[in-house]
């Protein structure tokens, strides 16, 4: 009943163009920073290598096809869970072969040529499993029907939280929420999930490490009046942090360390930026992880508001094209998968860019296609491959469905 379309549909081309633009910006930023204080040599070369591997990986995924991947999804999910459990075990034992803590976190498995990050693999496995689970279900309209998808989310969440990896933990919930929303789950159930999340929050808060809480406190301390209050009336804030006075007075050197610097880097760029390879934060080691999690800050410093808007526009284009793909296929698993991929990329961008600008807590979240790192690049490209794969499966129609117009239609302007 179905036919394979051309290798790349129009939305596919659009997504790939945007990704290509992001690669370019990311590589330019890495070239500017590489070898400078705090950034290893050859990050740009290695990133280029990762991109090539990622393209091959994407090609393989498209060849396999998302349907077949969907059939393997549970197996993939369980395998990923096993890896996550392995990391938790490593943390309990204080290290296993191939698993060594980096900055106190058990997040990576050292395979020699690459540091495999199971939570990244889990991102893909989770999307596939969630879509596969929900594709024929009608019961997600009921509350009990939500238990399944919920369990699917909470188990990996807790395992990643134990690594600890706050970023990935925070990523799964919005994805679940958006996918459920798209499948037509009842709003009151979704509100219920939010309510449940709020109920769970204090437990999570209690489970969190002091430094993780500090990230959120750091967010609040951007406000001068909150800061003054924490110094003047520390007894009011003891629920938030152990020693509010010290937290607030040491803000600049502890919780606000990266945040203040990333904001300063952005504002240093101004409207037009300081130019390629220019700027304090690009050249000097003031901002840790500026080639990685905080790459958006040095993009902002070098190319200003203009450059930032271009980057953000690229993600908007990917998201809109992804939704177009979701809309244009009638195959339910494909629809859910496309929405999931969009939700995940968008959530990741929001968390990363938001943290750079002081809107989100500082977590180890990469900026897809731009931040330096193999795992992140591979996973993001696999996600894009899934999108393209979905876009290639078309219901048998007389002709290709026109792309034009539908975008406007979705935007509510049609």
């Amino acid at each position: 009943m179905r036919t394979k379309g051309p290798w790349l549909t129009i939305p596919g081309w659009v997504v790939l163009s945007a990704v290509g633009a992001l690669w370019t910006v990311g590589l330019l930023a890495l070239v500017a920073a590489e070898g400078q204080a705090g950034v290893p040599l050859h990050v740009a070369d290695r990133q280029l290598f990762f991109i090539i591997v990622a393209i091959v990986l994407a090609w393989v995924c498209i060849r396999i096809g998302y349907q077949r991947l969907g059939r393997w999804s549970y197996a993939l999910f369980v395998a990923s869970l096993a890896l996550l459990v392995l990391l938790v075990l490593a943390r309990i034992c204080g290290g296993l072969p191939l698993i060594r803590p980096i900055k106190g976190a058990y997040r990576w498995i050292d395979l020699g040529w690459i540091n495999l990050q199971p939570s990244e693999v889990m991102k893909v496995a989770y999307l596939l499993a969630l879509g596969w689970y929900l594709k024929h279900k009608k019961n997600h309209q009921t509350l009990s029907g939500l238990i399944g998808p919920f369990a699917l989310t909470v188990v990996p969440m807790f395992l990643t939280l134990l690594q600890p990896d706050l970023g990935t933990t925070l990523l799964l919930m919005p994805v679940l929420f958006l996918v459920l929303f798209a499948t037509g789950a009842r709003l009151k159930h979704l509100v219920g999930i939010v309510g449940l999340a709020i109920l769970v929050a204090p437990i999570l808060w209690g489970r969190m490490e002091e430094y993780q809480r500090g990230r959120i406190v750091g967010l609040m301390l951007q406000n001068e009046s909150v800061k003054a209050s924490m110094i003047d009336e520390p007894e009011k804030w003891t629920w938030l942090t152990r020693d509010p006075e010290m937290t607030a007075s040491g803000y600049e050197h502890d919780d606000g360390f990266q945040l203040l610097r990333s904001k300063a880097a952005l504002s240093g760029g101004g409207l037009n930026g300081r130019g390629w390879k220019q700027g304090l934060f690009v050249q000097y080691g003031f901002l840790p992880e500026r080639h990685n999690d905080f790459i958006f800050a040095i993009i902002g410093e070098q190319w200003g508001t203009v450059g930032c808007l271009v980057v953000m526009l690229c993600y908007l284009v990917i998201a809109v094209a992804g939704l177009e793909i979701a809309s244009s296929t009638s195959e339910p698993f494909g629809k859910l998968l496309a929405v999931g991929v969009v939700a995940q990329i968008v959530a990741q961008v929001f968390i990363n860019v938001g943290m750079t600008m002081g809107l989100m807590p500082v977590t180890g979240m990469t900026l897809p296609f731009v931040s330096y790192g193999g795992s992140s690049m591979f996973v993001s490209m696999v996600q894009v491959a899934l999108l393209i794969s979905v876009s290639r499966y078309r219901p048998y129609l007389l002709g290709p469905r026109p792309f034009e117009g539908s975008l406007l239609e979705y935007a509510g302007l049609g």
Binding site: A182, L260, R261, A264, L271, T305, G358, G412
Partner: protein, 738 residues
């Protein structure tokens, strides 16, 4: 349904995107400046201040009298002295960034903090040993720093009304000071080998500083003065920091020194200079560099060679008379009123001030810390008589041919009172007979002057005292300077509680009674006699105009003026002063006559009647049934009580009694005997022609004033000294006479 929900997702997506765009615009465009300032503050890792080199003090020939020389001190961070946990953490964090930990996992912070606090504990005993001090003494020094910082912190917090971190809590504080080149290298080796982490993080550091070195000896000590640690009020008056901001680069912080006496004090603004600062960014890149500005050099009008020679002469004179505890000699250039020498004896070694201070200040007999030349105000005695005659002549009361008969006393019917002075060895007063003004000076006749003073009255005499600068600073600008006493009728009302009497006029006319002047005023008086002009004196000849110091000397001075006296009247008193020293029968002919082919000395002796001062008090008290007594040097009972309270806080609540324990002069006055007077001799050098008479048309160049404490009357001791000084100038320093 699905399409609808996708549409809502799209709207949500656009909304979220707009939020990010708004925040971006806010950060990068709207509030960019604010965040950039925060960034600048964050990125600055340290600021180092560079202390200015204090300007030199030179004599009039450019000889270096005082200068700053480099030295080093071991300074310790406040946080290390208090073993503050958060400070140690900060250190630990920077230790983790050391190159040896690059590329591997650095040791955990907690373990580093533990090791650091161990090092901090062993640091103090090792530093104490290095400084050759007992641990107790050393801990006292540490405590002083802690107390001071806490005091400042409290006062700052009172202003801000919340807890604040002050600059002093971040800085290092000098603990061991005055290390020379060798010692500083030893110190660095000790720190590097025993406390490498503390040293490399800068928590303990060997800091450059400088110390004041005085190249000149005791002769110059009073004039040069001293530097001392700043007082709270100095910092208040010209602060470096105010509310955490730098307000004045030439201002003071609590670690600074400031001129506290002599020219060091009076020329502080020129000598001071201003601080520099190096601000470095987080990655050691320099952010700002402001060089310290060296203070300007100050050149005195004093010739230090002349000063030294006179100090020798004065010392010899004082040395041969056990009853004379000290004295002063001042020499000025009459035309420019530059002070060529300003000597007080005894003095002290300026480079050993600190160690000798106790014994110097306890010597209430010789009073070596007393800057007699500027501060010893006493009655002028007969050196005032020329002014009395000038006043009487110029006010039209008498004319130039005026004569008056001295019959031994003003009222021959009552010969015990208002008597003329007695010749040496005789108890009978002189009967000078009929005298004109010139002869009255030559014989220094009291009765002649009593009569004039009687007719002139206190108010008119004080007018003339005022005109020659009594009761006013001379313009040398020293804080030690006393202004003497100008006993006007209103002054007498206020200070003596009585109206001016005729007797006061008679007394003031011969320079006795309440009227007082200092040696520096006396030398200006004789310069006025010699020139007819009152002019303020100058002690600082020039200052180098550097950006750090002000280019001009501006002390609070009065302008100069010509006295309303006709040249012929000046001629009378100058001739009179010539007669005193050179004519047969002149009172100082045998003491002060100068035998020189080109110059004659014209002068006048004087004796200041004195009363005895209490200089030390004995404090008696009973502590736990045991009688104790302590002696405190003090000029007054109140001062003695204050000093005792300050010096012995342990007897705070115990009642005590105070009794005079020592006097100045020390020797007891015997029944009926008068205390020896302070001896004056003032003179100027006048050019003479080949036949030996002075050429009055050539203005004299040099004026000299000599004062000897309890030096007896009539110029017996002061006259020869003045002559010796004159001869010294003529022989060795002729440039000042020609």
């Amino acid at each position: 349904m699905f399409e609808f929900r996708l549409r809502i997702l799209l709207i949500l997506l656009l909304a979220g995107w707009m939020i990010l765009v708004f925040r971006l615009v806010q950060l990068q465009i709207v509030e960019a400046d604010r965040y950039r300032q925060q960034a600048d503050a964050l990125l600055i890792r340290s600021q180092t201040f560079m202390e200015p080199v204090r300007g030199r003090i030179l004599d009039r020939n450019g000889r270096e009298l005082a200068s700053d020389e480099p030295c080093w001190s071991i300074s310790v961070a406040y946080g290390l002295l208090t073993s503050d946990e958060s400070y140690l953490r900060k250190l630990a964090r920077s230790i983790r960034k050391f190159p040896e930990f690059q590329g591997q996992d650095p040791p955990p912070i907690d373990r580093l903090v533990e090791q650091l606090s161990e090092q901090a504990r062993s640091l103090r005993p090792e530093l104490a040993a290095f400084a050759h001090r007992t641990p107790t003494e050393f801990e006292q020094d540490v405590q002083k720093i802690l107390d001071r910082v806490q005091r400042i912190k409290r006062s700052v917090e009172r202003v801000h009304r919340r807890e604040v971190t002050i600059q002093e809590e971040i800085e290092v504080h000098p603990l061991i000071t005055n290390l020379d080149q060798n010692r500083q290298i030893q110190a660095r080796q000790l720190l590097m080998s025993r406390f490498p982490w503390l040293y490399r993080t800068g928590a303990v550091d060997v800091v450059d500083s400088s110390r004041r070195v005085y190249h000149a000896g005791p002769a110059m000590a009073h004039v040069m003065g001293r530097v001392a640690p700043v007082q709270a009020q100095d910092v208040e008056k010209r602060p470096f920091f105010a509310d955490g901001e730098i307000v004045d680069w030439g201002g003071y912080t609590d670690d600074d020194v400031i001129g506290s006496a002599g020219v060091e004090w009076s020329s502080e603004r020129m000598l001071r200079g201003s601080r520099g600062r190096v601000v470095t960014f987080y990655d050691d890149r320099p952010a700002e560099r402001r060089e310290a500005v060296q203070g300007g050099d100050v050149a005195l009008t004093i010739d230090s060679d002349l000063q030294n020679e006179i100090y020798e002469l004065l010392g010899r004179e004082v040395g041969v008379h056990s009853t004379i505890p000290g004295g002063a000699v001042v020499v000025v250039d009459i035309a420019t009123r530059e002070v060529l020498a300003m000597v007080s004896y005894p003095s002290y070694d300026p480079s050993r001030w600190n160690e000798q201070y106790e014994s110097l200040s306890d010597d209430t007999l010789h009073r070596p810390l007393w800057f007699r030349a500027a501060a010893h105000a006493c009655a002028p005695g007969s050196i005032m008589k020329p002014l009395t005659i000038v006043a009487a002549q110029s006010s039209g009361m008498i004319d130039e041919s005026y004569t008056y008969e001295c019959r031994g006393s003003l009222f021959p019917e009552n010969p015990k009172e208002w008597r003329c002075w007695s010749a040496a060895g005789s108890r009978e007063p002189m009967h000078h007979g009929v005298l004109n003004c010139e002869e009255a000076l030559k014989h220094s006749c009291n009765v002649f002057c009593f009569h004039l003073g009687d007719r002139l009255g206190v108010a008119e005499l004080c007018n003339w005292f005022d005109m020659v600068g009594i009761g006013r600073t001379t313009g040398i600008g020293l804080r030690e300077e006393q202004v003497g006493i100008l006993p006007t009728p209103s002054w007498l009302e206020t200070h003596r509680g009585r109206p001016a009497s005729r007797g006061d006029g008679r007394n003031y006319a011969i320079g006795q009674g309440e009227v007082e002047l200092t040696p520096i005023q006396a030398v200006n008086l004789v310069a006025t006699y010699a020139s007819g002009v009152y002019q303020p004196l100058t002690l600082v000849r020039r200052t180098d105009s550097t950006p750090g110091g002000t280019s001009e000397v501006s002390f609070d001075t009065t302008p100069s003026w010509t006295l309303p006296v006709s040249p012929s009247v000046w001629g009378i008193i100058r001739r009179g002063m010539y007669d005193v020293v050179n004519e047969e029968g002149g009172t100082a002919r045998k003491y002060a006559h100068l035998d020189h082919p080109e110059y004659v000395l014209c002068g006048k002796s004087g004796s200041a009647e004195v009363s005895r001062w209490v200089t030390q008090y004995r404090i008696d008290l009973e502590v736990e049934g045991q009688k104790l007594s302590r002696t405190v040097p003090a000029d007054s009972l109140r001062m003695a009580k204050d000093k005792f309270r300050a010096k012995y806080p342990e007897y705070k609540d115990i009642p005590f009694t105070a009794h005079p324990a020592a006097y100045w002069p020390a020797h007891e006055k015997r029944e009926g005997e008068r205390l020896d007077s302070h001896a004056w001799f003032v003179a100027f050098l006048q050019k003479k022609n080949s036949s030996g008479s002075p050429i009055w048309t050539i203005p004299p160049r040099v004026a000299i004033a000599v004062e000897l404490d309890f030096g007896e009357s009539g110029g017996r001791n002061s006259g020869p000294l003045c002559r010796d000084v004159a001869r010294l100038i003529l022989d060795r320093f002729p440039q000042y006479v020609r």
